[in-house]
Subunit: 332 residues, 4 copies
Amino acid sequence: MQYRFLGNTGTKVSVIALGGWLTHGGHTGNEVAKQTMKAAYEAGVNFFDSAEGYAGGRAEKLLGEAIKEFGWDRDDLVISTKLYWGEHEDGSKDVGLSRKHVLAGMRKSLQRLQMEFVDIVYAHRPDKHTPMEEVVRAFNHLIHKGQAIYWGTSEWSSEEIMDAWRIADKLNLIGPVVEQPEYNMISRTRVEIEYAPLYRKFNLGLTVFSPLRRGILTGKYNKGIPSGSRADKEGSWFKEEVEKGGDMLERVSRLEPLAKELGEGITTGQLALAWTLKHPNVSSAIIGATSVEQVRENLKAVELVEKIDKGLMDRIDEVLGNRPEGVPFRFD
Amino acid sequence: MQYRFLGNTGTKVSVIALGGWLTHGGHTGNEVAKQTMKAAYEAGVNFFDSAEGYAGGRAEKLLGEAIKEFGWDRDDLVISTKLYWGEHEDGSKDVGLSRKHVLAGMRKSLQRLQMEFVDIVYAHRPDKHTPMEEVVRAFNHLIHKGQAIYWGTSEWSSEEIMDAWRIADKLNLIGPVVEQPEYNMISRTRVEIEYAPLYRKFNLGLTVFSPLRRGILTGKYNKGIPSGSRADKEGSWFKEEVEKGGDMLERVSRLEPLAKELGEGITTGQLALAWTLKHPNVSSAIIGATSVEQVRENLKAVELVEKIDKGLMDRIDEVLGNRPEGVPFRFD
Amino acid sequence: MQYRFLGNTGTKVSVIALGGWLTHGGHTGNEVAKQTMKAAYEAGVNFFDSAEGYAGGRAEKLLGEAIKEFGWDRDDLVISTKLYWGEHEDGSKDVGLSRKHVLAGMRKSLQRLQMEFVDIVYAHRPDKHTPMEEVVRAFNHLIHKGQAIYWGTSEWSSEEIMDAWRIADKLNLIGPVVEQPEYNMISRTRVEIEYAPLYRKFNLGLTVFSPLRRGILTGKYNKGIPSGSRADKEGSWFKEEVEKGGDMLERVSRLEPLAKELGEGITTGQLALAWTLKHPNVSSAIIGATSVEQVRENLKAVELVEKIDKGLMDRIDEVLGNRPEGVPFRFD
Amino acid sequence: MQYRFLGNTGTKVSVIALGGWLTHGGHTGNEVAKQTMKAAYEAGVNFFDSAEGYAGGRAEKLLGEAIKEFGWDRDDLVISTKLYWGEHEDGSKDVGLSRKHVLAGMRKSLQRLQMEFVDIVYAHRPDKHTPMEEVVRAFNHLIHKGQAIYWGTSEWSSEEIMDAWRIADKLNLIGPVVEQPEYNMISRTRVEIEYAPLYRKFNLGLTVFSPLRRGILTGKYNKGIPSGSRADKEGSWFKEEVEKGGDMLERVSRLEPLAKELGEGITTGQLALAWTLKHPNVSSAIIGATSVEQVRENLKAVELVEKIDKGLMDRIDEVLGNRPEGVPFRFD
């Protein structure tokens, strides 16, 4: 395993993190989910990601139980959660980043996780209805209480992140050190262009989700949607994307020979995962896994990172045909 | 004439300003240019806009001479200039927003204008090579020296304006109160969507340029480029735009009956100009004029603003077919 | 016993402190270690120093147990620990000054010490991988939580201490009030020259370690390394230093008559220890002791401090031949 | 000519600057001195350096006269001076960085230079007798008055520069953006090691003096001191250095073949000058010149910079044998 600093902090995270979206408390059985965690941990993964909104809190619950069960040292782990889509006990929603919800959400998350603190708490989305000062103060409050070590954002625009720093700087508070965006071979502009000024100004770290674009980059949909699969539902997000992305699927299939160059048995998915780690501000790529086998397959990507040189990056760009344009400036 | 506050300041400007781009010191004769100024002034225009980069400084010179000649009270006027594209005495360029250039540029502009101060000094473009702190400090320096009353930006991204405010807030300095973007029926997204958070946060004012999209919105190119006109040059910006905008020209021609509804003789150009003033954050629309007649025609737009109601705005949007999408939020 | 203010604070510490390095939880038996503590305490020592990294946490454990056992009033004592070299329960290392480690390290140290707070928490080394702002904020967090009364540094360069103050001043936080460097007749430059500006600027206090240079200054190695002693191991730090320091050992032996002048039975070691206390910014010299006898011998140094006058200091400097050059300035 | 940003500012300076030390108002005749300035200017040099202490003010006088005489546009030029060693009209000295002297020194320098402002004013040395806050406030005062655009330091330690930034940050004032140290193949540690943290923290720029170590690196003393030359005086600084540097002269002579590799007629001096420009934080190397020919010879170094590749740099290091050791850290 390799480790990187979490953006502009002194804390190191494994370059692959295990996330609980969809898989924890969701369609993957609890026992299998725990086994994927164990496999990841034993391979050196120290970073586990969850959210109050994943499976209505069941993802956090599973994560907490597993850590207790395995008896892992809490301080060995980097645990993150995200606040935005909360739920009251009666099932009613409690959504947003009001100070009231941030404090309540954190309290409930920690109960589910059976922990005193998380290492990173993310604002799961921007909240256009709560003033930025309230948001920045609320997340700083969690840090001051010792319930979180760092705070970050997820899917915020660069302007929103800049605004958070404006408020933090003005009030001498702590700004968001990490953003959790989607990043993969298909979705590139935000990470490669939009956030560029933030790297220069704040050394912003990224923990990216969907590095495999929900499986599309593994090539498994290259020949169309397998009938009966998760994607094979009328109106499903997958189906729409796969159908729209006709050209992209064709391009993905052309990555296969490039993957093979890196070694026998290397898959497009491993190449795609390693590719996200070539970006210097990506601290960690968060994978989901429905089996131990899948964890192991994914972790092989770690060793590929060094092997992917400038020449290969250029050839990948040629295949993808979506390198975002942007001028490198002195202060961006 | 009507007057509006210049963004979040206590200073009022006429909703129509007279600008010197292309016309002052440029292709319009000096005497005619002065007469357009006089006509505007007599109709209540108090806001005259220039830039160090207009006609290599000749625009400012003409503006300064005219004011002296007419004997207008300086304190009745709102005079603005912009710094970025400077020129040394030997013709070499001195470009950017370094403290050195901002100070030198202001000094030279004031000499040309024969003034002690301008009311607004704009950073004519963002400068990716000068640290934002240097820029914010330099424009504040002009204000502290009394050489400018306010400072603003021109064609900055919302993120850059946010960054300027971050620095200003952090250092207890004055932030940019006004932005000068292009805004007209054809170019809408920046003003209507991108800047929206800035209106809420800073009550940012706008002094918009090209409200008539360099004449295209007057309808004069609806039937093609008049041979021998300014646009009728191979490779000219105009020609290219007019030729590309085939569809847009056709749509513009369909605005003509809507203009007529507002009164006999009301032209598409007057409608288009009034339309920019419907945006609540536009403090002033800056027009250029090559004749006194043109000034008078344009000023008639002022009275139309009130007459353009929600229904008409919707019908205009239908014709234009380019209403930017974007959700209006509580804090945006 | 004599007491001095801990640098620029209102807290007084005994000029001799008892430290746990090597001796607590290490090669000295626990019972003997406790007796040395008792002897020191009864002689007026109120300051006991430890670190999370001493003997893998056993030094802190012993210190905590002893205090419980003796039933001393916690508020009579000044207890310090240091964070940097932490260890997880499974033996893996957790090193550095990331906020994550500082918080976890403090929690675990306090558990071992069976205390609610320490009086001083030191950053045991500078951490080039964690931003200074994170470090300064993390130590302030410990103070805000009540887990520490003051924070300090150990073996930081003057520039690093200056940088910590820069951040603390900028953010209105508490800067490091004390540094724990090595200081003795052999190692002088840092304390006498490098830190000089810090005394003037921050009235920085020093709690110095190795005042006897690990025994070398007691003269016990003057005639070479006793066979079978701790120093008598191939490649040991001691052996190397003793062998290299041929000339220094000879000089140390010439201090013996000077010690004798201060009184019958006064040893070179007592002279050397008292000599460190002549520096006005040394708040306390930290000794280690492997026997009660050793504690008592060392404590006799306290009374010598007053007796060592300018003339003797000069003669000591002549013998040592290593007075660092440097001009005493008004603001240094 | 090539230009670089002056440290963390938006102002560009030519990579070779012409300095007035020893040559202006000194042993070079005034007419020759002016001709060297003209030759430099015509070759694209825009940066001229002086000091109140050079030749008792005569260097500044000459610089000012020459600029007037040549009719150069002031805003085309970057003019710097340094304050520390001032002189009253009666010849008595007025030394240091007291607010009183900084203000008086600046006023007198500007009179001698016949200018309204300089671009950079340096604190010519640290002043241990004036509190840093007084120094930082005084130089900011010059900037606020418009008498200087930027301020910097000369021969300050990294700790002193850090302290200046501490005060500037605390008081929201402007810190020193540039340092003027000696830097050449013989004197390397300060620039390559000591200042490293300042590059990371403040993007500190350097305008280095003595890039040729007062001629030693041109090789002209390789065979000893020419009898009757400036260096051939008993007790002269040169004589001492040349005599001491026996080994270094021999090493310098071994650079000659490396210079030849870059092109026919390329001298050791040109190589040595270009070598200083390989350091990324060097904005400009300041040369002195006693003839137009010398200026032209030196300026040829500019084109060599690109040609000196990593391999050649390594071979130079081998010859010099004085590469300073130092660990590259994440935050240094």
